[in-house]
């Protein structure tokens, strides 16, 4: 009951003029950033973190959550009108959203996408409110051994699911990220590692400038390479959706919402995967005669993709609050921002900041409402944003990347970090290495380092507790399964076993 009361107080507390004003501008800015191809939610949240670090913690976190939710939703606009996902999260939206726009139903598609995003966000928010305290209380019993395995599991599952073709590259990116976190002074003996005499490197690589580089500068280079984008010439008529039309697909909405939230909660696996999995499940569960219409402007497909990606947002915040492990790349920045503001997420949050979880739920609620209201208004005028030429927009974004990186600690070294990570991020992406595991690695590096060494001290060098504690053993087995599952010999083995059973059945 205390939980419900805290939630009630948080919701009452958030609806004040200042918060509503902040939510409106931040969500609108998020929608615009999400709409513009090349500007991602991660970049938006990272840039706003640098701008809001002087604000009171709760205002700043509210603004960042609004930016996050706004951007993930905003990307659907360009997915529908340009056939280019505004953020990677909206790639699945293009499949059915763009054909609808080509049929002259852009307004209807935008309305459905907005409603789907709203409902997805609501489902995710409910999961956030219910599961965060539950997972948090379980996490209180975790020790260093468990946290070590969580860090390894996070990198393995994230690398496995986010690498476009080869999970090996995802894992390499993840372990490189973990290495980046090793640079600078370590947390137990204050010994300076890999700084080669540089005083600036001895402070370590800050997450935010690295993220601004990898998701800002790298994107700017990628966007500037492209040839022109073309907006569909279509009249946007009625945007407000018919609720009957949407609620007809209630099963799809609930399924996509739950799947999206669950995928969000997996470390480092973000909105793009959530949208694709929701879309795929919906397509598979459709009757064969309907299945053919997917990819040709199927409303259900569009709804599934948009519900899935927005449900992922609150889902990604669950592990941030309970374990200090981000569920997605933007959530990683959000975690960084919370630390900057003196909030320490993790198992102790239930003890140290018990009301904060519910305040975050209230913030998600406010952001979701703001997204729905703004998403259905000013549609026609906002489309003009898509017409701004890249060569005019990108230098301004780059100036913000530079200033944002510099602003946090007022040192030019961070601008250098941003540039290096931008170039590195660009090259890695060209070579088909995903960025999400690397980012997760930078965050998890410290957790891995401290917890492995602490565990070894506790066990006096013995590795036995790493495999005998029940939760450790479970995470270890799942991790091994994730790796082995991707090997050729395992698949051959499964194929052979299936073959034997099939033969037996026919005999």
């Amino acid at each position: 009951m205390t939980g419900l009361k805290m939630l009630f107080d948080a919701v009452i507390g958030i609806f004040n003029p200042r918060s509503i004003f902040d939510a409106l501008w931040a969500t609108q800015l998020g929608i615009i950033i999400g709409m513009l191809p090349g500007l991602t939610a991660t970049m938006g949240v990272a840039l706003l973190t640098t701008l809001t670090f002087n604000m009171a913690p709760n205002n700043a976190i509210l603004i960042l959550i609004c930016m996050y939710i706004g951007a993930i939703y905003g990307g659907s606009r360009s997915a529908i009108l340009l056939n280019i996902p505004g953020t990677p999260a909206n790639a699945a939206t293009t499949v059915d959203g763009y054909p609808l726009a080509l049929k002259g139903e852009a307004g209807r598609a935008i309305g459905i996408a907005t409603t789907g995003s709203f409902l997805g966000s609501v489902i995710g928010m409910l999961a956030l409110a219910i599961f965060t305290p539950m997972i948090g209380s379980v996490a209180l019993s975790f020790q260093s051994f468990e946290f070590f395995w969580f860090a390894i599991f996070g990198i393995v599952i994230c690398g496995n699911l986010t690498a476009p073709k080869d999970p090996l590259k995802g894992w390499i990116a993840g372990f490189l990220g973990l290495f980046v976190a090793m640079i600078g002074m370590e947390g137990i003996h204050a010994y300076v590692r890999f700084s080669f005499g540089s005083t600036e490197l001895s402070g370590g690589i800050s997450l935010i400038p690295a993220m601004v580089g990898a998701f800002g500068f790298a994107e700017i280079i990628t966007v500037m390479r492209f040839t022109k984008f073309e907006v569909v010439k279509t009249k946007i008529t009625r945007v407000i959706p018919k609720w009957k039309e949407v609620l007809k697909y209630w099963k799809t909405i609930i399924r996509s919402g739950l799947v999206g939230t669950f995928i969000g909660a997996i470390p480092g696996v973000g909105e793009d995967i959530a949208a694709w999995v929701s879309y795929d499940l919906t397509k598979r569960s459709a009757p064969p005669e309907v299945r053919e219409s997917f990819g040709k402007g199927n409303v259900e497909g569009l709804l599934a993709a948009e519900t899935g990606n927005n449900a992922c947002v609150p889902g990604a915040i669950i592990p941030v609050l309970t374990l200090a492990i981000p569920g997605s790349a933007p959530a990683a920045v959000l975690l960084g921002a919370m630390l900057i503001h003196g909030i320490r997420p993790g198992p102790l949050i239930l003890v140290e900041f018990p009301t904060f979880i519910y305040e975050v739920v209230a913030m998600v609620l406010l952001a979701t409402i703001a997204m729905y209201v703004l998403g259905l208004s000013m549609v026609k005028s906002l489309v003009k944003v898509l017409l701004i030429p890249r060569q005019k927009l990108m230098p301004i974004i780059f100036v913000l990347c530079v200033v944002g990186s510099f602003a946090l600690q007022a040192r030019l070294f961070d601008v250098g970090v941003m540039i290096v990570f931008g170039l590195l991020g660009f090259i890695l992406r060209e070579m088909e290495y995903p960025m999400a595991p690397m980012v997760l690695g930078i965050i998890l590096g410290d957790i891995l380092d401290k917890n492995l060494r602490r565990s070894l001290v506790l066990s006096n060098g013995s590795l036995v507790p790493f495999f005998t504690r029940p939760i450790c053993l479970a995470i270890f087995l799942v991790t091994v399964f994730v790796i082995v599952n991707r090997t050729v010999w395992f698949r051959n083995l499964v194929g052979a076993i299936k073959g034997i059973f099939r033969r037996k059945a026919t005999d």
């Binding site: 590692r193 390479r225 040839t227 890249r390 990108m394 030019l412 060494r453």
Partner: protein
């Protein structure tokens, strides 16, 4: 891609081994009567081994795909550099990196104005056309550059109370 993977795997293997060697050279802190199991080199050494191992797998895989045999032809390199997208990419990187290097040495507003002005014109101005026909583009770029740099300066210094380089 197998060719690129072949080379990157070699670089990454070398990187992993260097990390391992540097980690092993780190003090164990045992001489300060601290627990050797909390030595600072343990985790980086483990990471070095894993990175070298994973890139080793990639190395053998790229060899199996014939990555080591494929030759980089002069024409392929030429084609890459002549391609318009490469041209645009190089220009973007050069202008942005130069701007960041000059930060702190030149007045922020002046440098930012110049950066945006040059960036916009690099992609909009055509030397094949006459200057007179492009005056509008130049003026627009100048106005955009001036407005952006002063706005960013004003917002950051007076609203967000941040010092600028």
């Amino acid at each position: 891609m197998p060719k690129a993977d072949f080379y990157t795997s070699i670089i990454l293997m070398a990187f992993g081994i260097i990390v391992l060697i540097l980690s092993l050279k780190m003090p164990t802190m045992a001489e300060q009567s601290k627990n050797p199991y909390a030595a600072p080199g343990i985790v980086p050494a483990l990471l070095g081994i894993i990175i070298a191992f994973l890139s080793g797998i990639m190395f053998f895989r790229s060899i199996r795909k014939g990555g080591h045999k494929k030759q980089i032809t002069g024409e392929a390199i030429k084609g890459f550099f002549i391609h318009e997208s490469t041209n645009r990419m190089v220009k973007t990187i050069l202008i942005c990196v130069l701007y960041s290097l000059l930060l702190g040495h030149v007045n922020f507003v002046l440098l930012t104005t110049l950066f945006i002005f040059i960036f916009v014109l690099t992609f909009e101005y055509s030397f094949k056309e006459r200057f007179k026909s492009q005056i509008r583009k130049v003026l627009m770029a100048a106005v955009l550059a001036a407005i952006t740099s002063t706005t960013v300066y004003g917002v950051f210094v007076y609203l967000f109370l941040v010092n600028l380089p």
